[in-house]
Symmetry: C2
Subunit: 330 residues, 2 copies
């Protein structure tokens, strides 16, 4: 089905089946995990059997979410579920191989997402790229269908939407997003507490990472490109978790005058991961990433390329400076 399903069509499937496996993408973020919990607990409160599966399990920074203990890594054998629901996952392979295997017994696939590039790989699809987060689509769905709204669902939706909008700041945030926030508070959300747990409870090693990164920070002479890097030995010394660096690039993206922020990471296998953020659509970092076999969006893109760091860095920076100059001429 290439058209979006209506809420009622999805409601029909949810009512007619008893067992569900709810999935989201590898390296899950707040919107992925929050969406799984939100829909899972609403369905369970409606009397359904539910499993919540993610290739990488529950990240350390989201263990505070009520109900998060229900997130499992994929079991070795397919689970017994009639319906698989993929949430916040732009392509089916992004679910991960073990997760796809675990969900392989499902008869029906529902695909709910807010990524515009989603190729509609479900039997039933609900793709709304005007929504800033999959959590907000689920809020609309759950309230429209008058499904139960347990506290776990309430808190998970808030965290899903808050983390995907940079705390209600990004351009995709809508009036409806704020109205949803108001409704969740009226439903009993403890807004101070949940934000403290989401944003003010970082492991010390994250602050050590911030210090290590800042000590490598370089700003180009024209002030337009800021970059920093992380050596693999620093990662090992600080015993970093993958989620520890999440969002840190925003520190240098936020420098006045900077148009492109770049994070170079030396991986254990010697490869280099490059994350780029642009503030200006005229400097399309996805195009730059494509030159090196990477990809992404105009304002956020990534590369995985051969090392060593000393070789990768000047190549990528030169390509960025060419793009900056081209944008200045146009």
């Amino acid at each position: 089905m290439s058209e979006n399903a209506t809420f009622e069509q999805i409601g029909d499937i949810l009512r007619r089946h008893e067992s569900f496996v709810i999935l989201s993408h590898v390296r899950p973020d707040g919107d992925a995990i929050g969406s799984q919990i939100a829909l899972g607990f609403a369905l369970e409160a409606a009397g359904k059997r539910v499993r919540l599966i993610n290739e990488d399990g529950l990240p350390d920074n989201l263990t505070f979410l009520p109900g998060s203990h229900r997130i499992e890594v994929p079991p070795a054998d397919p689970v017994d579920a009639e319906v698989a629901i993929a949430l916040d996952t732009a392509t089916k392979p992004r679910l991960g191989d073990a997760t796809l295997h675990a969900a392989s017994g499902a008869d029906i696939w529902i695909n709910i997402d807010h990524h515009i590039s989603n190729p509609r790989y479900g039997d039933i699809n609900l793709i709304d790229s005007t929504s800033p987060a999959t959590g907000q689509i689920l809020y609309d769905l759950i309230t429209a269908l008058d499904l139960p709204f347990p506290d776990e669902t309430r808190d998970a939706i808030y965290v899903a939407v808050s983390t995907d909008t940079g705390s209600f700041q990004y351009p995709n945030t809508t009036a409806k997003t704020y109205e949803m926030g108001a409704d969740l508070i009226r439903r009993g959300l403890d807004v101070g507490k949940i934000n403290e747990l989401t944003y003010d409870s970082h492991p010390f090693r994250r602050v050590e990472l911030m210090r290590a990164l800042l000590n490598t920070l370089q700003l180009s002479d024209n002030g337009i490109v800021a970059h920093w890097d992380l050596r693999d030995d620093t990662r090992r010394k600080l015993a970093l978790f993958p989620e520890d660096s999440e969002g840190l690039i925003d520190i240098i993206r936020a420098i006045r005058g900077v148009q492109v922020a770049v994070f170079f990471e030396e991986l254990p296998d010697g490869k280099i991961r490059v994350s780029m953020r642009s503030k200006d659509r005229a400097i399309d970092v996805c195009k730059i990433a494509l030159e090196f076999g990477g990809g992404g969006h105009a304002l956020a893109a990534g590369i995985r390329m051969a090392g060593p760091l000393e070789d990768a860095k000047p190549k990528v920076l030169a390509a960025i400076h060419r793009a900056v100059e081209a944008s200045a001429r146009s």
Copy 2:
């Protein structure tokens, strides 16, 4: 008048007079400046004469606010205004001497604020400590009185409330705060743009300051107290502005397990300024501040004490550790 005035009583004063001087506190933050602009432009659009005066003028980080060019430092002579309106200013002296002199010709003082400690120094007072920001009180007032709502007012209210709630995160944020956000977007607010200008446009020196502070960061052995310091020569070397350090203490306050965060600053006169943040009401940093002649609130307090840093630091840290131990025993 010790009771709160009604919106109608305030509306009456606004209608019956033609000239206003609108004030806020020294070292103004987003809520102070935002409130001045919000009310000033609403009154001006209603045909009134308005001056916006602040002891320290407009801070560099708020120059993006439409209408902010109207913020003046106090002129030498009292301005011609029938009504003075103090906004977001907990005590009258916090307006500053030059500002008080500039407003000394006013016949009527209106005092609008959200600080619970405000002693109601106006002829007309509107103190609402349940409001997370003075900007939200003004939103209620302006909409209740059906005053004009120009774009400058809309943007200024958003920034006032966003900065005073840590982007809609703090415990004092209410469902009404979120509903106001929705209404401001429906009135045409560009939410992505205004947040980028508010939060993603720091001068490079602020990131340099962050690096300098992180390089002095120390965490106590029990992980409960985090502190860092700023030498006066670093401040001079980086050519820092007072607002550059605003909010940085939140980086170490956000470390998991930390209950007290402390920022020691060596001032040009050799004195030491100490800022303390507690996450736990049982560790009352105001009490600790009082031991050294400082003051504040249970969760946020400050001291200005004799240097040098080497002497001040161990004294304050010892007092904090005594308070931590006392709270553990109780």
